[in-house]
Amino acid sequence: MITFIAKRFSAAIFVLTSISILVFLIFFATPGVDPAARIAGRNASQETLAQVRATFDLDKPLPERYLSMMDHLFIQRDLTSYVNRGEEVWPQLIQAVPATLSLVIGASIIWLLLGIGLGVTAAGMRKSWIDPAIGVVGIIGVSLPVYWLGEVVNLITQGRLHDTAFRWVPPLGYVPLTENPGQWFLSLLFPWLTLSLLYAGIYIRVIRGEIVGLMQEDFVKTERAKGASEKRILLKHSSRMSLITVVSLFGLDFGALVGGSALLTEVVFGIQGVGRLTFTALQNFDLPLIMATVMYAAFFIVIANAVVDILYAWLDPRVRRG
């Protein structure tokens, strides 16, 4: 088991290093792209371009620049932004984390409850109309563009009805939990619901499929032969087994969302989180900030992947040898 964990973590380090190199190459070595021109802005003069190249060390060889950026990012931890000169990237990132965490944790509670509840119900009610009805909810959930749903929600809660039925909804934006817990909850309520609908759709479909598959397994037949009721089989055995899949899926989704995949939701609802920070940095070609946010995101995803793999190996000894 220890060798397995060690192996898994060295693979994680390899992936993280590769991602940092990949990001660096995308921004500095894509054929036909001149980073100096991007940083200097449109129609910059030759002198400005030369000046930009000198200030940002763009004339030095790529490996040297990469190593220097990694050194400032991880070891000295004093990497500064290209756009707001002198502003360090770590504090900006750390400032954005609470908003993203608030959004993702709240949404994940809702989608887990909805996904597991409706998924198990659908699998248990396969002979009635309830299963296809839940199926429709699931399929609409996975087919909705989250940013559009967010705009529809804004139209309803911030538009004409804002003066009457939705007077209690605060204006768009994030209110820190420490500042005002009530407003924090109200300001996040609709973003939570929007983000969770998509994932609830995925989870309903996965859990239902998983349980229906498990109901055909030998151990269920044995239980049935022993006289266990269908309800007991569904709730005690199949649902519990399907939780293994849910845990691994959840690990990956949660990692990706905390890492910035909630970007569209953050943009639509004006929440200053990690995703939005990354997006602004990308638009401004602010590579140090991009590097920090992408590494932060990849870190969460890689760790989630590794933890899920180790959990699997712990639950199923065959994986360890594979």
Partner: protein, 338 residues
């Protein structure tokens, strides 16, 4: 058709035929196909609609344009009468075919015509990017799974890296870099506004979603008796891959098609919404939603309709995907994203 009796009595039907029949008896197949066909035909008719019905160019702003309603000439952009009464408001839906049936956007362009044109691009990118993902993913999966050893670990490592890179961050990074400067490498040169850029970007970022499961399948197939028999009888690698391996992974590949197309389409619209997908003057459903944001509270239809069309198309594709999966491969599972 020949009247000859088959030499051998067929005891069971071929898996392909059973799958086709299951699919044909599934109501979802017909509902989804009809909806998809309707939307495809509708968007392909965009040039016809613009030329003969709306008689406006949906790519040129017509701020001083006028249209005729009930015999009266009305300007397309009107002085605002709501709120603070400042600025101009585009004309709302007139529900009259030929005179801004669904209203105008903030540049006086016909919303209905733009919706149709936008749909052409969204569907084009969705289908080509989806098929690109599936082709590359299947190839890489088969090569990695069949070669094993060094080639496999090399390809798998690359897939691991792309897999760990959040899809949105990777596609946004590539789009931000490429869309402003275009791509120039040797003989390949793509303009910055080219539709090929979003197609390639979206096509590439989802490759691990297909390549990983296919690789797993090929590894399992390699251990099966019929493959070993082929190897033992001295068949060439290319023969084994095309005659033994490929026919056995094709069902999973087919299952991926509708879902990957839906995923590619949703990604395209999201990138366009962030203004790093389809570039003006071209339109897609995502860019129309973005353009409609400024009008959200006065002319909500401009942003609502393209989204509704995206949902209908994606629902049809996913429904079709479910039907195909149940018919071909009841155990196929896929993670959704977006």
């Amino acid at each position: 058709m020949t009247d000859r009796e088959p030499a051998v009595q067929v005891l069971s039907e071929s898996p392909g035929r059973i799958a086709r029949e299951t699919l044909a008896h599934d109501r979802r197949t017909w509902i989804a196909s009809a909806l998809l066909l309707f939307i495809v035909v509708l968007t392909l008719a965009a040039p016809l609609y613009a030329t003969y019905v709306s008689k406006t160019d949906p790519f040129v702003s017509s701020i001083n344009g006028t249209t005729v309603i009930d015999g009266q000439e009305v300007s397309v952009l009107q002085q605002s009468t709501e709120g603070l009464r400042i600025g101009v408001n585009p004309i709302g839906p007139t529900w009259r075919i030929g005179s801004y049936a669904l209203g105008a956007d903030n540049q006086g362009r016909d919303v209905a015509a733009r919706l149709l044109y936008g749909g052409t691009n969204t569907l084009l990118i969705g289908f080509t990017a989806g098929f690109l993902t599936i082709t590359i993913g299947t190839l890489l999966g088969i090569i990695a799974g069949y070669s094993g050893k060094f080639v496999d670990s090399f390809i798998s490592r690359i897939l691991d890296v792309i897999w760990a890179f959040p899809v949105y961050l990777l596609s946004i990074s590539l789009s931000v870099v490429l869309l402003t400067s275009g791509f120039k490498w040797g003989p390949i040169s793509l303009e910055s506004g080219s539709l090929y850029l979003p197609i390639f970007i979206i096509g590439l970022v989802y490759v691990p979603y297909v390549a990983r499961p296919i690789r797993g399948q090929v590894i399992a197939l390699r251990e099966r008796e019929f493959v070993k028999a082929a190897i033992g009888s001295g068949a060439k690698n290319s023969q084994i891959i095309f005659r033994e391996i490929l026919p056995n992974v094709i069902p999973s590949v087919i299952v991926f098609i509708p879902m990957m197309v839906a995923l590619a389409m949703l990604t395209e619209s999201a990138l366009s919404f962030l203004s790093i997908g389809v570039q003006p003057p071209d339109a897609s459903w995502g860019t129309i939603i973005k353009d409609g944001l400024g009008l959200l509270y006065t002319r909500p239809l401009v942003a609502l309709l393209p989204g509704l069309l995206i949902v209908i198309t994606a629902v049809s594709l996913n429904l079709l995907g479910d039907a195909v999966r149940d018919a071909l491969d009841p155990k196929a599972r896929m993670r959704g994203a977006v």
